[in-house]
């Protein structure tokens, strides 16, 4: 086996890992920032707001990530109009294109997750806030969005794992992430099993770390859903002895 080739080229893998993490975080930020307003529009009563967003999320969720990456990098890059515009310098950078494409993809899924969670919210909370006279923005900020985040946590954790998987495709648009580093090593030294198994293990660790982060978040924010703990049962008051005896006699008699 050629594990020493992998070990000798550890810098390529390290640099690829750094790129993967940067892409993941960048896409998460873009995704979250756009998904919140999108989800609010999606659940709006006005058809003018909800239909365009529904169509947009249908298109984004129906597009394979590979196609989105190709479209943003090669497709938009080909168009004169885009090149001349203010987007030109942004799209000239492959890493930025990757972050944008991944951000768009995750925004679509996240918006649908958030929209579903908003619809599950007990309407009573919103009614109470309205009756307090809270302006709409305050309701969103203090009541709706925090409650939505809480409910969305499990599904969102899943979405982040899928986003991590999606980052592995950016080597198709010349961005060298962890998978790109493995493919480069494979092409340079004509070995395949060692580099791919190595990055498989690294992705596994990344995924487990992400799941751990979300488990901690869930423990904190979904505390109210946890089963009752042992010390709470012990603290419950006990029935006085004489009362118990009398009921016992009554039942048997």
């Amino acid at each position: 086996m050629n594990w020493q080739i992998v070990a000798e080229n550890w810098q390529m893998f390290a640099s690829g890992l750094a790129t993967t993490i940067v892409l993941l975080l960048g896409a998460i930020v873009i995704g979250l920032l756009t998904a919140i307003p999108l989800s609010l529009m999606r659940v709006s009563k006005s058809r003018w707001l909800s239909w365009p967003v529904a169509s947009l999320t249908f298109v984004i969720r129906g597009a394979p990530v590979v196609i989105l990456l190709y479209l943003v990098y090669f497709g938009l890059g080909q168009l004169e109009l885009v090149r001349e515009s203010f987007l030109g310098p942004v799209l000239a950078n492959a890493t930025l294109c990757a972050v944008i494409a991944l951000g768009i993809s995750t925004a679509g899924y996240t918006a649908e997750i958030f929209a579903g969670c908003i619809q599950d919210l007990p309407h009573g909370e919103i009614e109470a806030a309205v009756s307090f006279g809270m302006p709409r923005m305050k309701i969103y900020r203090y009541v709706l969005v925090p409650a939505m985040f809480r409910r969305a946590l499990p599904q969102y954790a899943n979405e982040i794992i899928l986003l991590l998987h999606a980052t592995s495709l950016v080597s198709l648009i010349t961005v060298i992430d962890l998978t790109g580093a493995a493919r480069a090593v494979s092409a340079l030294f004509y070995i395949s099993f060692e580099p791919y198994l190595t990055i498989g293990a690294i992705y596994l660790v990344l995924s487990m770390a992400t799941q751990r982060v979300f488990k901690n978040l869930e423990r904190r924010f979904l505390r109210h859903l946890r089963p009752r703990e042992a010390n709470q049962a012990a603290a419950a008051p006990s029935i006085p002895a004489n009362v118990r005896e009398s009921t016992h006699e009554q039942t048997l008699g």
Binding site: P64, I67, F74, L76, S192, F193, G200, M208
Partner: protein, 229 residues
Amino acid sequence: MFSDYVAMVLNGAWLTLGLAASALACSIAFGMVATTFKVSNSRALHRVVDGYTQVVRGIPDLVLMLIVFYGIPDVITSLGSLFGKSWQLNVPAFVAGSLALGFIFGAYMAETFRGALLAIPVGQIEAATAFGMTPTQVWTLVRLPQMVRYALPGFTNNWLTLVKGTAVVSVIGLQDVTFRAKYAAQATHEDFAFYIVSLLVYLALSAVSLLGLRRVSTRYRIGAASGAR
């Protein structure tokens, strides 16, 4: 000329569908096995399925496909040379894609099937056993038909994600829609147009799948009470 290339890209949809169907079959197989392990009483089998789910969540589709397509043949050849033999395993791209995608989506199907099995009212199983049905009869006459109804939403989601997942197989050289779009773009320099065309193909596949599965779901809901029962 341009329209000929568009037709070429559209023809790739057959291969995309074929691969998706093949991967679906594999994933149902993997998923059923995993579900039976998970509902069994054996702790060890539970751990096996947990390990399976962890691996699938951890390794991206592309990496798994590269391991199956390049890595495993590489290992077989190296092992062979260790023993002084020249073994070779040639995994065709279609098979590598089906197995890799089937393995990945098997874990998702296992979750869907398990949820569906648990949703069947226990009273029906008890009644069936009381009637003297053998476990196999309970499976085929009571569990499986009802499982379909409960599993359909999750199944639909998995199918849609699977169809999109086939785009990755273009990386290992399978001439699906994505592969053809790329080479049409290289030949005509009309990148934007062809990637839009391929996007439309995938959207069409999604839309048709959603409509079809909605009809199936309506049919299976005949006679069933809606809501939690």
